[in-house]
Amino acid sequence: MSTTDWPLWEVFVRSRRGLSHTHAGSLHAPDAELALRNARDLYTRRGEGVSIWVVPATAITASSPDEKDPFFEPAADKPYRHPTFYEIPEGVKHL
């Protein structure tokens, strides 16, 4: 790769206060400062955000789709983690 290759950054935007940052997309920038500014220009030019994170794409460790079953399926058979699992007599309030 030539020296003109700028690394890839993933961009996360908080759309308004009280919400968490969500992935908006990616962009190229030579360093973190410019990545942040480019993200502002690109992903919030219609007022989509109040805060931005940029993360070097290479810094992300992702779960592998091949491991989907061991990773995520064990969570599917634990219904007692959800409130709908429990039976409450009719008329009982504030539960």
């Binding site: 290759d5 997309g25 962009l27 030579p30 940029v54």
Partner: protein, 338 residues
């Protein structure tokens, strides 16, 4: 993330897995996901041909966005009112942004933006032929918005449901942002059509020149289209070229009437039986010639793109060199958590 393919290779090696994996099970999972209208994501296994088709299509789409900036940017410095100037600048800016979203989507398939740009600059990848036509008058800005963006939207809306997740998500964002592009073009033409006789003539002339090339944007007729069948099966594409072209014609005819402008096709008439407008034969020889590189602006567009890229090289190098020198300080800006 851009190197899903590389990561997959690395993982296989690290796991000590055999070089040749039996892909039948993967193929089944892939087919089932597509059939169930689930999205394919970057790190999922996918057939090589699916990956190649996507890279080709997304890259071509991205290239079209950035080459497409040129014919309109041609009028930024001459826009006849400050309001129109602001609108046009914002629109051309959006196109740069859309190119960016699309290159990012292509990068999730393991091809870098630099590689894609290189292929564009060397003519190995194409962009939409429509941008090889010149913008001769101000009205062309309106005609591009109404007809070219209109055709693009007709093509793009179904792509929001494309089977490849990153492409579909990019298209959702693009379609949302582009909703003003077509309207501004229509409004611009309307102002001209209702304006002075000279303005009206300018608008009619532009529509006369852009109508047929816009219809060609949907690609060759279904029976001649190379990639259509497989793409439909993979749910990259959801409707055939001819279907979308017909939909576009049906939308445009009444819009032209409201504009007070005519469409340059004597065969254009409502067909009660089909429930659609019939339209005249498209001159596919022109399409093929422009595609081959013989359009009025092919040379000019690619030359300008290359020049911008080459002239910017020292700037990109400088920023990379600065980043290399100041890596420490760049790392410290993790203070962006706010």
């Amino acid at each position: 993330m851009a190197t899903a393919a590389a990561q997959r290779t690395a993982r296989t090696e690290a796991d000590g897995a055999p070089d040749t994996v039996d892909t039948t099970a993967y193929q089944h999972a892939f087919d089932a996901a597509v059939a169930a209208d689930e999205r394919i994501e970057p790190r999922d296994w996918m057939p090589d041909a699916y990956r190649a088709t996507l890279v080709r299509q997304i890259a071509q789409h991205a290239h079209s966005e950035i080459i497409g900036m040129q014919p309109e940017a041609n009028w930024i410095t001459r826009a006849p009112s400050l309001r129109r100037k602001a609108i046009l600048m914002a629109k051309v800016q959006d196109e740069a942004g859309h190119g960016l979203y699309l290159y990012s989507a292509a990068e999730t398939l393991g091809t870098s933006r630099d590689e894609l740009l290189d292929k564009l600059h060397s003519g190995r990848q194409k962009y939409s032929s429509i941008f090889n036509y010149p913008t001769l008058t101000w009205a062309d800005v309106g005609a591009i918005g109404w007809l070219v963006d209109g055709a693009a939207i007709t093509n793009q809306v179904p792509l929001c449901r494309c089977s490849y997740g990153p492409y579909a998500r990019a298209m959702v964002r693009i379609c949302k942002e582009e909703s003003f592009h077509q309207r501004q073009g229509y409004e611009l033409l309307l102002a001209l059509s209702k304006g002075t006789p000279a303005q009206h003539a300018m608008a009619q002339d532009a529509v006369d020149r852009w109508w047929w090339p816009s219809l060609m944007m949907f690609g060759p007729p279904d029976d001649e289209s190379q990639h259509s069948a497989q793409s439909m099966e993979w749910k990259i594409k959801r409707h055939s070229n001819d279907e979308l072209r017909q939909r576009f014609v049906d939308i445009c005819v009444p819009q032209a009437e409201s504009l007070g402008l005519t469409l340059p096709d004597p065969d254009l008439r409502w067909n009660e039986e089909r429930g659609h407008y019939d339209f005249g034969p498209i001159d596919w020889s022109e399409f093929r010639e422009v595609l081959k590189g013989n359009g009025p602006c092919n040379e000019q567009r690619i030359t300008q793109r290359r020049r911008a890229h080459d002239e910017g090289a020292w700037v990109r190098e400088a920023a990379a060199a600065y980043a290399a020198k100041h890596t420490g300080s760049a790392g410290e800006t993790g203070a962006t958590r706010a």
